[in-house]
């Protein structure tokens, strides 16, 4: 009786927004850095020249050309193709359709009677930062020491040996957005990972993906800090905390802009003394990344009225919220979310574990979809992440019960294309389209069926998991040498 999902909503409650990376920022300083005279004498002092200090070392598994032939394909673009073929070459999807001729050297794999979808994307995961076993030593998801910890990065807490990564892979997860928790108004940066086991977190980092920044509304920050006798202890205290931070961030951005202009002038020969750079601040770097659009806001927020407050704040300071996470009441403001182009990541059936989720309904996703808003089904949980299409099925069934007809080809976007959009990787993965990364899952049955199992999971064309082949079943260091085969597919 100790093992219930009860622990999970608490985690959900602790979700935080994280700040995004500044990797795409270009500035006068970087442009001018080729001149020896102008190259920075003191590395690390200018955020614009130091945008990717923990670069991805991701390497795809070797991949020969292959084709999944004869499957029902849900493309993630809204199409359903019966008896279809997906062709993969050099780790990329090269063709998707019915009755395709296979190029020379492409190995056919019989997928008749099965289903193929894009790799499943969990846009709200704490794998690695709240790893199993859930012991104190592995609890690294919430830097609950200050309501603003935009300066921390989730990737620095990720333990790549979390057995949860492998379980998620067995459930078809190929991409994860790992977020800090929700204790803080600003929780820190989130990071996109490819779910291919690696020795280091850099080995897993999704190449070219933007950072996110976690923010959190509502009960968690006010409970955590109110409980410590500090601000915020109320929702109005929360809003003060956000605005205060954005004012500082805007001012920081202004100082760097001025510095870069003066530096450019100096390089152009104006003046005889190089300008002094502002003092770098890691917290403000992340917030500045949001303001310049390079970091995507991932905002834990349950109640509709609070989402509206957050939107007003985004207008006040000129940034965009990429996605509300949990969003139990998003259905109440579907029109606003559509207008603002903000996705909502929610569950099929989680609700009611605290007051701000008390109005959570199974029809949330369907009502949002019906209103034209972007819907994502997320997990926030190491168990649920293994069943994400089935969680989407719960939401789909509830919508149909209400009379909202949504077909499965559309609903699969909730766990593929839409999360890819919200975490900034839709140009690379999330759909089965030529040129995309060959992240895909071969399912034993309709992925919306409770009986569906991921038979083969491909990441960048490499076979990352095969239910029938023990040599293609990763096992984390932690689980190596344990007494029992704790693995799907094994039988004692």
């Amino acid at each position: 009786m100790k093992k219930t999902l009860a622990a999970v909503p608490l985690l959900a409650a602790l979700a935080v927004l994280s700040a995004c990376a500044t990797m795409s920022v270009t500035s006068p300083a970087t442009q001018a850095a080729s001149s020896p005279k102008e190259s920075p004498a003191f590395p690390g002092l200018d955020p614009s020249t130091d945008s990717d200090p923990f670069p991805s070392t991701y390497r795809a598994l070797p991949s020969n050309g292959f084709a999944l032939v004869g499957a029902t394909i849900l493309t993630g673009t809204g199409s359903r193709i019966e008896n279809g073929t997906v062709i993969v070459e050099n780790g990329k999807i090269t063709a998707v359709g019915a009755g395709l001729a296979l190029p020379a050297g492409v190995q056919p794999i019989d997928a008749r009677g099965k289903f193929v979808t894009p790799g499943i994307i969990d846009a709200h995961s704490h794998l690695g930062v709240y790893a199993t076993p859930q012991v104190w030593a592995n609890s690294d998801g919430n830097e609950a020491t200050d309501p603003n910890t935009a300066q921390v990065w989730a990737e620095h807490s990720v333990w790549p040996q979390d057995p949860g990564f492998v379980r998620a892979l067995e459930g078809g997860i190929t991409t994860l957005e790992i977020l800090p928790g929700s204790a803080n108004l600003f929780g820190g940066r989130s990071v996109a990972l490819k779910n291919l086991p690696g020795r280091t977190v850099q080995d897993m980092k999704f190449p070219g993906a933007p950072y996110g920044m976690k923010m959190a509304c509502g009960e968690n920050p006010k409970r955590v800090y109110g409980g410590k006798g500090r601000s915020p202890s109320t929702r109005m205290g929360n809003v003060y905390g956000y605005r205060k931070a954005w004012i500082e961030a805007q001012d920081y951005r202004r100082r760097w802009d001025e510095y870069h202009k003066k530096l450019a002038d100096f390089k152009a020969g104006k003046g005889d003394k190089a300008p002094d750079a502002p003092k770098r601040d890691l917290q403000l770097d992340t917030l500045m990344g949001v303001l310049d659009g390079s970091i995507l806001v991932q905002n834990h927020c349950y109640r509709a009225d609070e989402m509206a407050q957050m939107i007003a704040i985004s207008h006040e300071f000129g940034f965009h919220i990429s996605m509300f996470h949990h969003g139990s009441e998003a259905y109440k403001i579907a029109d606003i979310l559509k207008r603002e182009d903000i996705c909502t990541a929610t569950w099929g059936e989680w609700w009611g574990f605290k007051m701000e989720s008390f109005d959570g309904i199974e029809e949330n996703a369907a009502l949002l979809q019906n209103g034209g808003a972007c819907v994502v089904i997320h997990s926030d949980d190491a168990i649920l992440t293994q069943h994400l299409p089935q969680e989407a099925a719960i939401a789909l069934a509830a919508g149909r019960r209400l009379g909202i007809a949504i077909d499965e080809a559309e609903a699969i976007k909730w766990v593929t294309a839409n999360p890819a959009k919200a975490i900034g990787v839709l140009d690379k993965t999330g759909t089965l389209e030529p040129g995309k990364m060959a992240d895909l899952v071969l399912w034993s049955a309709d992925p919306f069926s409770v009986y569906a199992l991921a038979e083969k999971v491909y990441i960048d064309g490499g076979l990352a998991y095969d239910r029938r082949d023990p040599t293609r079943q990763p096992l984390s260091d932690f689980e190596l040498g344990q007494a029992g085969p704790a693995h799907p597919g094994d039988r004692p």
Binding site: K3, L5, P163, Y331, G360, I361, L367, A393
Partner: protein, 431 residues
């Protein structure tokens, strides 16, 4: 294990029975789980709140309301076992909850049935998922160390989901106790201290039974437990009431099996994530197992070998398994998906249905009331749009004790309110 005779009698006078119609569910694919077997095209006849007949060619009395199932599956109403349903309203708000109430004086005796609220907003939500009964298990109040020196969470109750005043099926359905690392955390710090404490508390209760006269006269040494707790342990010692034991790793399961055998206890294992590794021993001991088939992670050191096939392996060895939803009552409706996951990982389909209907009814002592489609039992019935274990299937008709329930809830009302928009009228006016 006492049937609540008072409640049953009150039900006959004032309760749902008074409004029960005669109903025939026709053209049903019946999964009875009872001696009647299954029917491809059968009829279930409901009269006076009970099942009056099950068969392929039943005569239907004049005036009977017909529910044509159109070939769809009909199962017994589902049972959410190990749930806080009806006792807790909002997990995060202590003042809204009654499922955790053990005190230093009332631990084994704490009776969650007295905290059940049939008007809970969660009950219609669960009912819409085809759940018609729940085995409500209390938990210890507080978190971590705040659980204090208490061992027993208290007495579980079986409730029906009619929402009516007389919805308690059974009090004292089992005594809930956790022997896992959570309990170790507040009772000394070791699994050993928890097991010793359990045995000591049971010893004390046996001493109390043998020295009741001296105790009442105040001439016996004092007991650590209150009189109420010592009394509550008597049916456990007599093997009349099950002790529902939260236990997880192989070593602890074996110790519990040994203790149960020695003291002749009627045990039900709860959790048993590593049970599959000693499925034969659990089967030989005749112990049923409550489990959540989704738990496949080494969340604690006491379940390093948790795996998705636990249900299938235990059942294949002959263990009676009960599939649970998460404890929080909001998720009672998840019980059928959990059974589906167990089936996806090797449990035979009908065993999956039994694990959420007839099995819990049998092991928690209400098989004479519910859990099967059999003449004489309460008419808890669900007509499904498809396979009951599939997310894409929904209940089309739900009967609790012969009364068809309206498939509405507060959540449904919210969905309908916001399904339409009217710029000239705030949604608050739509109800």
């Amino acid at each position: 294990m006492k049937l609540v005779k008072l409640s049953l009698a009150a039900g006959l006078l004032f309760g749902t029975q008074a409004f029960a119609e005669t109903i025939a569910i026709t053209h049903a694919q019946i999964i009875s789980l009872g001696k009647e077997g299954s029917f491809k095209d059968g009829t279930v006849l409901v009269r006076d709140g009970r099942i009056a007949g099950v068969g392929a060619n039943l005569a239907i009395p004049a005036g009977t309301r017909i529910i044509d199932a159109g070939g769809h599956i009909v199962t017994p109403g589902l049972v959410a076992s190990g749930s806080s349903l009806g006792a807790d309203e909002v997990e995060g708000e202590a003042s809204a909850n009654d499922g955790a109430g053990a005190t230093d004086e009332l631990s084994a005796a704490f009776d969650v049935s007295l905290g059940i609220n049939p008007a809970s907003m969660l009950i219609p939500v669960a009912r819409m998922g085809g759940v018609t009964r729940a085995v409500v298990t209390p938990e210890l109040p507080g978190r971590g160390d705040k659980k204090g020196d208490r061992l027993f969470a208290g007495q579980a109750a079986v409730i029906d989901l009619s929402g009516s005043a007389n919805s308690i099926t059974l009090r004292h359905a089992a005594l809930a106790v956790d022997l896992g690392s959570g309990a170790a955390g507040h009772l000394g710090g070791s699994h050993a201290s928890v097991l010793q404490r359990l045995e000591a508390d049971l010893d004390e209760a046996a001493s109390f039974a043998a020295n009741r006269g001296l105790y009442e006269h105040g001439t016996h040494r004092p007991y650590r437990q209150s009189k109420e707790d010592l009394e509550a342990l008597q049916p456990i010692l007599q093997g009349k009431e099950p002790l529902l034991v939260g236990v997880h790793r192989v070593a602890d399961i074996r110790r519990v099996i040994e203790l149960g055998r020695r003291l002749k206890l009627k045990l039900i294992l709860n959790g048993a994530e590593e049970g599959w590794m000693i499925a034969g021993e659990i089967a030989a001991a005749g112990l049923p197992v409550l489990l959540d088939p989704q738990y496949d992670l080494p969340e604690e050191f006491e379940q390093l070998n948790a795996r998705l096939e636990n249900a299938a392996i235990l059942a294949a060895a002959g263990v009676t398994i009960v599939v649970t939803p998460p404890h929080t009552g909001d998720y009672a409706r998840q019980v059928r998906y959990n059974a589906g996951y167990a089936v996806a990982h090797g449990l035979p389909w009908e065993a999956g249905i039994a694990a959420i209907t007839s099995n819990p009814a049998r092991i928690f002592g209400f098989a004479a009331s519910a859990g099967r489609i059999e003449p004489g039992l309460d008419a808890d019935l669900v007509v499904w749009s498809g396979d009951p274990l599939e997310m894409l299937s929904v209940p089309e008709h739900v009967l609790v004790k012969g009364i068809e329930q309206s498939l509405t809830s507060r959540a449904q009302a919210l969905a309908r309110r916001y399904a339409v928009s009217d710029p000239n009228q705030p949604p608050t006016y739509r109800h």
